[in-house]
Structure formats: C-alpha cells, structure tokens
C-alpha cells in the first residue's frame, strides 16, 4: 500500500490531491495511518504501531485497515 507521491496530507486529517483537485478529510487514526504510509511503513509495521497505541484487537484493526485501504483506492490516492 503506497500513497501517490503528489498527495498532500496534514496532521489534522486534511488530504489534497493536486492531480484531480479533490480534497478529503480523515479521522485522527486515518491521518496517523497516512503519515505512516508517507514514511513508507509496511502494513505489518502499521498494525504494530496502531495496536500498541490504541485500545483495539489486532484482528479488528487488520479488518478495519483492509477496509480503509479500499476506501483509499476508491479515493484514487494510492499508487
């Protein structure tokens, strides 16, 4: 899972795609995942970071991350 190079993100959860002009908003966990993606972390690393920080089962987060990935694909911001 890789973000397109030109996607602009902010820590507050604002996302801008200069290629299409589309803007998006995401919740704090979404913003954190995007920032980890920008750092080119792998899925396994993202799961480790989030499940260590938040009160969530690893399996639950895996399922939600998979769902988030399909939302990012639909939003056309993944490479």
């Amino acid at each position: 899972m890789k973000l397109k190079k030109n996607i602009a993100t902010s820590a507050e959860g604002f996302i801008f795609n200069p290629g299409t002009g589309d803007s998006f908003s995401t919740n704090p966990i979404g913003a954190e995942i995007l920032s980890l993606l920008k750092e080119e972390k792998t899925i396994a690393e993202i799961i480790d970071v989030i499940s260590a920080k938040y009160d969530v089962d690893q399996s639950q987060f895996e399922k939600d991350l998979d769902d988030f990935k399909s939302q990012l694909e639909d939003s056309n911001i993944l490479d």
């Binding site: 995401t26 966990i29 938040y54 009160d55 639950q60 939600d64 769902d67």
Partner: protein, 453 residues
C-alpha cells in the same frame, strides 16, 4: 501507558457547493439511558434486540391528551385502540388512566374482557364480527359499531331471535377533503347510505341507536379534515333529533392523530411538521360547541387515539452485527433487528441513536436488518457515528403497531420490557422460543421418520 480510544479509520471526500438546509441530520447524541435505566444493562440482562416501553411516558401522553380535550369540551372519553398495542400491560395502563377499550376483532374483544373492562365500556368496531361475537357483545351491553348493511341486517335478525336490544352506532365514511378517502368502512355520508342505515336502525325495535362513529384515516396531518368530519356527524345528530326526536348520546371521531415519526419521503422531520393534539382538539371541539346543541344535548365526544398516545413510549434496543462496504463504496451496517420486528420501518424513517459515546466523525450508511431478504432495510440512508460490531443502538417511537404487526419470520420475537413509574423493569412479553413456535404444529405420522438420522 493507557491506550487511546480506538475509532475505525475513514476517509471522506469533501464536496463543495451550496449548503443544503434540508440535509440529513446526524444522529450523534448518544442515548445511553431509557428512563434512567442504562441501555447497556438492559441488553445485558434481557438480551438484544429488546423492546422497551416507558409506563411514565404512556401516562404523560394520556394525561396530556385528556387535559387538552377536557379543557375545551365538557364530555370526553378516550377508548384505547387495542390494535395499536394490545400487550395486556400496556392496555392496563390506559384502563387505569380511565380509557375504555376499542377493539376490531373477536380476539381483541375477549382480550379487553380478560383485562377486566366492563362490556359496556368496550367499543366493537370493524367489518368482521361473527354472529356469536355480535350476540356476546349485545349481551354484554357493548357499543357495537355497524360497518355494513349485511351486518346491520344480521344484527337485527340476531337481536329478534335472542330477544336483545344492543346499543349500536354506525360507522360513517365521508369526503373530508383528504386523499385517500377511506370509503371502504361504514356507510357513506354523501350518497345517503348513512341516513338509510340510521332510518333502518331507528325503525327497528331491536336496536338502540346511541352513537355515530367515523374514522377518517390514519396518520392524519390535517386538523381541518377532523373539523369537516365533526360537522358531518353533527349534521346527522341534529337531523336525527329533528326527524325522530332522538338524542344521539355520543359522537366518536375515531383515531388517526399522528405521532411525531417522520414518514418516508417526507421533506422535513415529523417533529417539525406534525400538528399538535391541541390543533386537532381545537378543530373538533370548535365545531361541536358551535353547532347549536343545547348544553344537555351535547354529545359525549369519544376518541380512539392510538398511535399518538403510545408511539414515543416505545423504544427498540439493538446491536450492530457487522459493518461492511457495498460495491459502490457506501457503508452498510447490519443490525440484529429488521423489518420483522420493526414493522414500521416500512412507513417511517425512524430516528436511530447510538447508545454509547463516539468521536466526532460520522458517515452516511444504510442500516440493514439480519434477515436473509433484500427488503430488510431499517434506514435507507442515515448519518451516524462510526459503528462497529457490538455497538448498541436505540430506535425511537416504536410503541405503535410494532408489537401487534410484527412478524415471526426468520428470527424469534424478542422480550418486551416495561419500565414502571419507579424505574423498575418488568418483562411484559417473554421472548419467543422454538417450543412456543412449534406448539401448534403437528407432523403427520408418516412424516415423523427421517432417514437422514
């Protein structure tokens, strides 16, 4: 280190353009308690889904409606519409408050008798009354509201044969300026059918015409239609006095007052658009008081209000079974109750609240029930917090018609709980079991052997 509260990640496209002042409201405010009892503990103790009825709210509604009518008109009587919710505990709350019973079938009639309602305080409506039921109602001195000429002639014959003189009224249908016109019940006012029926009853020695009844529709949004109905019944009452020197004891304007639920397809929420009971009371009582009756001849005003007195006293608690995304990206949330329990989801966009606190993010979603059927949709589109498996929800204003029209289909019907005035909880109808469901089933002897065993 304590872990932070988790919320599933979402991303939403931001749309620019004009704000929509009619945009869907976000049901964000959690409803964690029903009458001070925590939703969580209710579900833990009594299971999910769970219908909950507030006794306090029923009494508040009843007392409010009677105050509104009695401060405008001297003689008012409410009769509880059994079909709206005939759980015995619910009926008894209304009867304790002074309500008579209004029934539309033999089984409802017997339910009212079983609840201790004197026969003389039961109004027997509807097109389906058997000869046996008519005789029983006549013997009990109940008010029999005649629906059609076949019933009228049957009742005359039965009364003669059994030496009875039942107290009767006719149901009158009429044009009140609303659509659809409910002309399938009763005798029509405009074409003279109602007057013919009245004449036939008065000429019969075995029937005592004591009242006139109408029920112009359901979920009526126009108080003016009730004014028209009241005028037409007053006109008949006046003519009966003039022509036959007979005083009609009561005018029964039926039910039909709406609750504040939002009808499907409505532009604005019901809580903003539905007329208040005061407006209906003004429309009705202004007509009767202004018609010119002598004070002693003023008819008793009977009201068979159901929905408006019970809907907001009922809640349905449920649980999220799963959350998924549809092929077009929309969120779909699957709940443990569907249209089989929440029958009124076919008519209303019910208000649904989360039962626990959430973060500030929301998403638009479809709420599906658990049935393996495509029709099982609780809300086609609602903006809610990010729901997850195991979260609880509260559906509001479900007290009317659900506990009578619900279907035993695919799942078993759940517990119904009443929270009393002191906030004690009572199961008023136990959740169904397989044994209960199969109680009346019989398998022929030759089908009892199963070779797969």
């Amino acid at each position: 280190m304590e872990k932070l509260r988790y919320e599933r990640p979402i991303i939403q496209k931001m749309n620019t353009g004009l704000m929509n002042k009619f945009g869907t409201r976000t049901e964000y405010e959690p409803v964690t308690h029903i009458e001070s009892v925590p939703v969580k503990s209710l579900i833990k103790e009594y299971g999910s889904p769970l219908f909950v009825i507030s006794e306090k709210q029923i009494r508040r509604n009843y007392q409010n409606a009677t105050r509104i009518f009695k401060t405008r008109y001297p003689k008012v009587q409410f009769a509880w519409s059994y079909k709206t919710n005939y759980m015995n505990a619910v009926c008894q709350v209304f009867h304790q408050e002074g309500s008579w019973a209004e029934v539309v079938s033999g089984f409802e009639y017997n339910k009212a008798l079983g609840n201790g309602v004197p026969g003389s305080k039961i109004i027997f409506n509807g097109p389906d009354k058997t000869d046996e039921q008519l005789i029983a109602a006549a013997r009990n001195n109940s008010l029999i509201h005649i629906d059609h000429f076949d019933e009228l002639y049957s009742l005359i014959k039965l009364s003669e044969e059994n030496n009875l003189k039942p107290r009767v009224a006719i149901r009158v249908n009429m044009d009140t300026g609303i659509y659809p016109k409910w002309d399938r019940f009763g005798f029509n006012f405009e074409n003279g059918q109602a007057w013919n029926a009245i004449t036939r009853i008065i000429n019969s020695e075995n029937l005592d015409l004591v009242g006139l009844h109408c029920h112009i529709g359901t979920f009526m949004l126009s108080p003016a239609a009730y004014a028209v109905a009241a005028t037409k019944l007053c006109e008949l009452t006046w003519s009966i006095k003039e022509k036959f020197n007979k005083t009609i004891q009561y005018i029964d304007l039926g039910g039909g007052f709406p609750s504040t639920n939002t009808l499907k397809g409505a532009y604005l929420p019901g809580s903003d658009t539905v007329p208040s009971i005061d407006q209906f009371a003004d429309a009705i009582t202004d007509v009767i008081l202004g018609y010119g009756f002598k004070h002693d001849d003023l008819p008793l005003l009977i009201l068979e209000t159901g929905r408006a007195l019970i809907d907001d006293a009922g809640f349905l608690l449920g649980t999220v079974l799963a959350s998924k995304r549809l092929s077009d990206g929309r969120r779909a949330t699957i709940l443990d109750f569907g249209v089989n329990s929440l029958f009124t989801a076919f008519w209303y966009d019910h208000k649904v609240s989360p039962a626990q606190a959430f973060g500030q993010h929301t998403e638009e979603m479809v709420l599906y029930g658990p049935l393996c059927m495509n029709i099982d949709i609780v809300r086609e589109s609602i903006t809610m917090p990010l729901l997850e498996k195991g979260n609880h929800l509260v559906v509001h204003k479900v007290g009317a018609y659900n506990m009578t029209q619900w279907m035993q289909f695919i799942t078993l019907r759940p517990n119904i709980l009443m929270i009393d005035k002191e906030n004690n909880t009572h199961v008023i109808r136990k959740a169904e079991t397989l044994e209960y469901l199969e109680l009346n089933e019989q398998v022929p002897e030759h089908l009892k052997h199963n070779p797969l065993k």
